[in-house]
Symmetry: C2
Subunit: 322 residues, 2 copies
């Protein structure tokens, strides 16, 4: 089969022939039509991820067919028994197991879900990892509900956009941040109340003026601006951290954290029931994932460049096979 293989970190992917996976009890082989990229894949190509083994076929997201049925797959394997956190044997499709940038991929039977009927294959391939991460962050960790005012930072990323769509579907008032005015405007067109440019030195004051205070933050950035998130929070607010693109948190004053009874909640991926609930939500509200762009498998390295540019608004998809 054809596959996009990372032979060595720091190198581009190589689209080459690779042995197809063999049948195994309890596992399903999926014929991949579209694969979706995540920042995780980019970090791995750069060697900035724990436990990298090469050669590896990257990719955690797919839409394809399995025994004649259109399917997607939950990329979070071996979550374990505790809904609060993943077990020691937890892994994510695409490292160490071979990923979705290949004509065939092998996943546990229990990971296979039918494609929501209202979605194209490109849209379906956008959903799994980012949708799961957003769902757990917003619904399980923050326990957001319709009376909450929600801030989603870095709008345009996959998780951020799903968090926006889920929050809007459930009737929440949503605010966004981005370094791109264009992305803020697109989010507002989707239904966000307003947005702020985080390059502006006083963005937190602007956001307080817009919102009169935030109850839930969904943040994938961390970094030195994290303490400003605390400033915009109402008493009892929950800030969920699902990523750290802007590095370590600095100068976080404890007084507003305890005085406002804030909760700063780490979240990554999700349990099998989180995934099933997320798919139910997408079906119930007919949520359509935002596809930024679709690349041919031969142009997979252009897809990675697009991700690295930070210009995308929505998911970057790779067409693996018709």
């Amino acid at each position: 089969m054809r596959a996009a293989v990372l032979k060595k970190t720091g190198e581009p992917l190589h689209v080459i022939d690779w042995p197809a996976p063999a049948e195994e009890l309890g596992r399903s082989i999926i014929q991949v039509k579209y694969a979706g990229l995540n920042h995780r894949d980019l970090w791995i190509t750069k060697g900035q991820y724990a436990g990298i083994q090469t050669p590896i076929i990257l990719g955690s997201d797919l839409a394809g067919t399995c025994r004649g049925v259109d399917v997607i797959a939950n990329p979070a394997f071996n979550w374990g028994d505790d809904p609060r956190f993943q077990s020691k044997s937890f892994e994510i499709l695409g490292l160490p197991s071979m990923g979705t940038l290949a004509e065939q991929v092998f996943v546990p039977d229990s990971a296979v879900f039918p494609v929501p009927g209202h979605l194209s294959a490109e849209q379906a391939a956008s959903l799994p990892l980012a949708g799961l991460t957003a769902y757990r962050a917003l619904m399980k960790r923050a326990q957001a509900w319709k009376e909450d005012k929600v801030l989603i930072t870095g709008i345009g990323g996959g998780v951020a956009l799903f968090a926006l769509q889920f929050a809007l579907a459930l009737g929440m008032e949503v605010y966004v941040s981005s370094s791109s005015q264009n992305k803020i405007e697109r989010a507002v067109k989707m239904g966000a109340r307003a947005g702020v440019n985080y390059l502006s030195p006083d963005w937190e004051k602007e956001l307080l003026n817009q919102s009169s205070g935030i109850d839930v933050v969904i943040d994938g950035a961390s970094g030195s601006d994290f303490s400003k998130l605390v400033k915009v929070c109402n008493p009892g607010a929950r800030i969920v951290i699902y990523g750290g693109t802007r590095g370590a948190i600095q100068n976080l004053s404890p007084q507003p954290v305890f005085w406002k009874q804030l909760s700063i909640l780490g979240s990554t991926m999700g349990s099998p029931s989180d995934f099933a609930e997320m798919v139910d939500l997408v079906n119930q509200y007919k949520i359509i994932p935002i596809v930024d762009s679709v690349f041919e498998l031969d142009n997979v390295n252009h897809a990675f460049s697009r991700m690295e540019s930070g210009l995308q608004f929505g998911k970057i998809i790779v067409k693996v096979h018709n």
Copy 2:
């Protein structure tokens, strides 16, 4: 009546005659026997607290009598309707209302509770603010239970000692930290499994060796060592911040926070039901607060010096009246 009055921040207290409070509907006058000090009182004398008004009688903790009954008082007034956080009209006894370092003090009727029968008046005066803070932090915010391994930092402080006593009463395995070997040994005698000296550069490794990982942290320090708390945490752990004696949090890497699904939870004081539950726990398990020292009202400034020294193990109490 006699009272210890802060006339101006930066000055010692003055023990002087002061007008007794007058009767008012919905409020009870308590004849104070003993008052307890808290760090809050020390910060106020230094001007390091929001909303200071002088002259003010400091003190949030008391044991005394009210209509012939031995009583204590919940020092957290006007919590409001939401159990998750205090309302805008929330206040703490001893600023802006006149506090307990006086022969009489005025509190809302609903704040008055009978003294637990197994406690002396000195012990009872140790309980309210620190017991409430510890109870909410451990039980409501961390939702600790008997299978949890608990780390309590800065053992010797009032909140830390109540957290230790509550956790031990409920069957948890408790570890402590301090800069004093003597305090660690006293905590171990009380039932802590072990402790580490946080001045040691590798205390987090030592603690991991002792405990194999921590599920709940009760921390009143914050500061640059906060990121080490993250290192000792098991997946799903909860770190409660109730104070910031060591300043802002620095260099907090987001990756272990989200990967381990940690919860960093601010907590201060507690609701009326938190207070009632705390008193129930003290009654049920016959918990006896640790009294560090008792000072005469005339020596109230020595009591403040004792607090500032950091040498205390338990509550510093002032005898106001027999």
